[in-house]
Amino acid sequence: MATNPMHQFKVYKIGPEIKLGNVDLSFTNASLFMLISALTICLFLYFGSKQKSIIPNRLQLIAELFYNFIAKMISDTAGSKAKPYFPFIFTLFMFVLLCNMIGMLPYSFTVTSHIIVTLVMALFIFFAVTVIGFIKHGFKYLSIFVPKGVPVILLPLITIIEIISYLSRPVSLSVRLFANMMAGHTMLKVFGSFVISLGFLGGWLPLSFSVALTGLEILVAFLQAYVFAILTCIYLNDALNLHH
């Protein structure tokens, strides 16, 4: 059913079936759009850094704008110690942003609207941050669960809450992005279907909604990429600068 608003999230394989033992690793439309996003980023950055002009052209200006934006975000939230992780955060932000934005194109596929994609990223960040924390501080890193200045009576409770909140980081990080993307695209699809079903007379209202929602979704696409990146920075900050 083409009007099913969830149809747009369907994953199907493109080309031959690739199997590694019992595991299906076929190239799918999701993989295709990941590839498109990655290639778009590369192309954009290639043309954004090709010329070494003192006065930048437009693409160069935008590329440098992104660079400075991420650099400032990292130094603001995680300090100078997080500088080595700049390429990762930059890649993460650009990838999520481009996946979200390319998902806004009609008939495209939104990679980030799949929980498994966001979960893999969030879990990687979670484990990486935890490993970094333990490498930097050893077992002292566990003191992140014991906030300073808490009354002793409340300490066991607070510690349990802190542990739960720490462990729920990958879930909240992944579900936030996934749910936002899925909800937005579903809404767009639903209002789009209204336009068709209400016809020429009644379709104007949902159409205007649809237009407004498109603008909102573009904002959300950027915002969620930003939130994803900045939360990664904040987690990184916890690992790098114990008890800020």
Binding site: N4, P5, M6, H7, F9, K10, V11, K13, I18, V23, D24, L25, S26, F27, T28, A30, S31, M34, L35, A38, I41, C42, L45, Y46, G48, S49, K52, I54, P56, Q60, A63, E64, Y67, N68, F86, P87, F88, F90, T91, M94, F95, V111, S113, H114, I115, I116, V117, V120, M121, F178, M182, T186, V190, S193, F194, S197, L198, G202, L205, P206
Partner: protein, 191 residues
Amino acid sequence: MRLKIPFIIFIYWFETLLFAAEAGMPQLDSKYWFSQSFWLILIFLLLYLSLSKFFIPKIKDNLDDREKKIKDNLDEAKELSELAEKKSLEYENEISNAKKEVIKIISESKKQLDKNISQKKEQFEKELEKEINKAEKEILDLKKGSSKSINLIAEEISAKIIEDVTGDKLNNSSIKASVAEVSKNKIGKYL
């Protein structure tokens, strides 16, 4: 009323949406989970490597270059402006020196001129005095000479007049005596 119809339809659609989500959210279909994870990790890794090894250093280079160039230009501008200030100070110094020199030259030449003028004046005055003295002496000589010749002329004229009038010739000594007497009395009046 116009708002109500879409709202009711929206509720209807939302229910079917929820139903659809319950019935089959493609996201929860685990069939392609491994495939998606695999391709995500692969593509993200490649993207990360190409960005961190190639694109990010390039952008950083560009930015650093620009910053360096701007800083260099600013430094150069500062240097140049300092140089210009120095030069202008030098120039002002030179001008004030020149002005002082000009004042000196003017006063010196004025002094020299004054001196020259006074010298010339003195010389001129001396010469003038000399000339005056000379002239006075000449006049005095002339006076002396003229009174004698006047006497002589007067003697001659009076002898002739007497001869013409009387027909007699008076002796010279008496005429001389009378002329001398008259001229002694009157000559002071005319000379």
